[in-house]
Amino acid sequence: MQLSGLGIGALMGASIPVLGSAVSVEHLLEPGADVAMKKKLADVALNAAKSKGATYTDVRIGRYLQQFLFTRETRVQNITNAESYGVGIRVIANGTWGFSATSDVTPNGIAKCAETAVAIAKANAKLQTEPVVLAPQKGVGEVSWKTPLKKNAFEIPIQEKIDLLMKVNSEAMKNGAGFVTSNLFFVNEQKYFASTDGSYIDQDVHRIWPTFTVTAVDKGAGKFKTRDALSSPMGMGYEYLDGLETEKIAGPNGLVGYRSSYDMVEDAILAAKQAKEKLTVKSVQSGKYDLVLDPNHLGLTIHESVGHPTELDRVLGYEANYAGTSFATLDKWKTKTFNYGSKLVNIVADKTQPYTLGTVGYDDEGVPCKEWDLIKDGILVNYQAIRDQASIIGEKESHGCCYADNWNSVQFQRMPNVSLKPGTEKRSVQDMIKGVDKGIYIIGRGSYSIDQQRYNFQFGGQLFYEIKGGEIVGMLDDVAYQANTQEFWNSCAQLCDNDDYRTFGSFFDGKGQPSQISAVSHGCATTRFNGVNVINTGRKI
């Protein structure tokens, strides 16, 4: 599930989670405590918990930095610089988890926090029926990992960022937009992890998301249309905004696909023209169509219909009261024949792919990250599991996808990158469209909704092009497709090749109670699905 309301104006509101206290821009570049000091403090927690009866302890000393910029038209609406610094301690005592966190990062504060975590574990043990079983994890010693970035976004002057957004806005207005909002989101997680397994892991993780919404208005007709940015959030530095020509993919009808470099101004100009065009295009006729889905659209469908249903905590019922459970049950998986999709469908989970949001060296319980298959040749073969779940599916080790969104949140199973492998035959988008007789080519993330077991979904998009007899004949409006997850993936008929492969991402994916966010990428090439049910969403009020 994703936090909703990333539309007009909503980005300014409560739907964007700001973690931490407002700080000065310069403060974001201060180095924080050094590794030797963090190790000393971590050992305080490990020893204190052990002395109170913990059989396992992990401690996370975290400094979480955010810089968010919000603009509309000619005006900077808000700039948020925030820091959150503290310690989260998780223990097992009497076979039960306990967690406590504190912003008092002193030996005394940490020792007290560790004692509280043990006391909570012991109190909860009384209601516990299933003792925790952890998959073994050998200590990795003293190691470090850093997002391989070229330009630390926090080092780029604020004025340079404002200038970029003002350029985006003015170009959009010049090209037909009535209104435009544009935003930059930068996140840096400085995380130190230590556990009684003998791991001391220092990580420096960076993420970036540039985005905008342009609106075209026809006041006379009482109509308005929007087009959102076709960027993707990335596990990169400010270099993502370089707009390198070598990372662009020329699509049909002047469309541009962006790999690991984004041209925000170019996209804004195109967006303004397209939003204006959307005011007068024809409304779709509902019925069955072959869909050609761009990676910047299909990424969200993968997220919702494959990513979430294969989260093992959902499958087991831990999310039953909120996000829901899953149709991809253990009995289906055990048959080793459950046809999640057609033979073309190979979906991998990973936390290692360069430039992606999920990629780190180690997860938040100290497990080295890796890649594994979820769906192989169409068959459901695995889930996403963490240390206390691995034994349930017969895995000898965790998949390494445990994450907490802050030092004061308890870590739990979160989605790794989940990506559809591109086709092995040479095929461009233009080649794919040539083979479609009656279809719709869909680009961008639109409205999205899926049921609590991930059977039935409905997706919209940003741009819809009608395909007739192998050619694009014009734009369409009021398009949404509805499908059943298994039927949809079994209708997967053709894949473009690796040259078209791009990642899409979710910067604020929500899960858990209290809700935590996480960021995750989804890669794929443009893909064709046959005979999907399209509805017309036009109404009159």
Partner: protein, 438 residues
Amino acid sequence: MAILTKEEAKKIIDKVLAYSKADETSVNISGGRTGNIRYARNSVSTSGESNDLSLAVTAVFGKRSGTATINEFDDQSLEKTVRRAEEIARLAPENSEYVPMLGPQNYLNTNAYAESTAKIDPDFRAKAAFDSIDPCRKKNLTAAGYLEDSAGFSAIGNSKGLVGYSKATSVDFSITVRTADGTGSGYAIRDVNDAGTLSTKAATEVAMQKALASSAARALEPGKYTVILEPAAAIDLLQNMMRSMDARNADEGRSFLSKKGGETRLGEKLFDERVSIYSDPTNPEIPGSPYAGDGRPQEKVTWVEKGVVKNMTYSRYWAEKKGVKATPPPSGFILQGGTQSLADLIKGTEKGILVTRFWYIRAVDPQTLLYTGLTRDGTFYIENGQIKFPVKNFRFNESPIIMLNNLEALGKPIRVNGSLIPPMKIREFTFTSLSDAV
């Protein structure tokens, strides 16, 4: 204890204002305790508690503003925070839409604080979870639930003489009960200010009954149906509509309240004449905050009267530009209803579908406020005034505007999510496909 008295808070605010050299300065102090317990598979999975007390200072020079926060309250820390806010303000870009701070305001007394909630401890939470898990275990049902409680205060003040203080408590509880074979699921949700009025056992019993009754659902063809929406089902669509009543968007031509030619629908009849919606922070059933985040007083406001749009929400900037009163968005609202209970509405229905709740609601078209989403945790077919059998879940595509025109009946409002919402009977509600989800 992190709840300061009005006098303690005022003393800190005055001290901070005295440190400031900015043209305008505002101070916000908030604090309190929040706690939670979460359970699933009839076992507690996580629980925790945290205390917090923090102060935010906003300093303004001309049209440039900066905010800094701190959670230490010694004089040195307070002064440092003021200096930092001033420094951030001097470096900030000019905000051409900046509106000077408000002077002294009159705030209503809203009575949102209950001592019973402020006293909640880990034992209370463990018992609340046990009262919900235990009856489920005994009936071979599986409980997953979440309780979150908070007790806190907020104090505001500024260099123009504005002063405000409020205390509030709240408890939010939700429970999903599933049958052991996974063919039935039921849900209940409660929110109160006074923990003494919450029974997790009673709420769980409703969810248990729905779980058992929803097992082995039959499939009906998607299409247009008469529906009875329980308040927990109607609230999300109505909240989305209320959040879309911003005047600026309407004036700019990009709202459901915009119309052809550039005017807005203010003063027009947009709903069935039985639809009247107002907000009132002093309503004892849903006491709200006495002020909005920027210090504007929350007062009784009529939003829709007998189907006619009476008010829109304004930012202070847009209100000044338009020369109207700057009405802030309300925290909760009341859709007026009648005297009929949910059972009465069912009894009076020849053919229809009872909806417990909706799930994963997302905007499809902001122009018409069309939303999509699904029914969940208890959907039933009604015939001749009786619930006949459970039905499989549906996906809907519907607009609250169309829904409130297709109104058949409104029942007696009950509290859900901080608003008072009646169960409602709607004709021709649009279900577009079936879902296999339970």
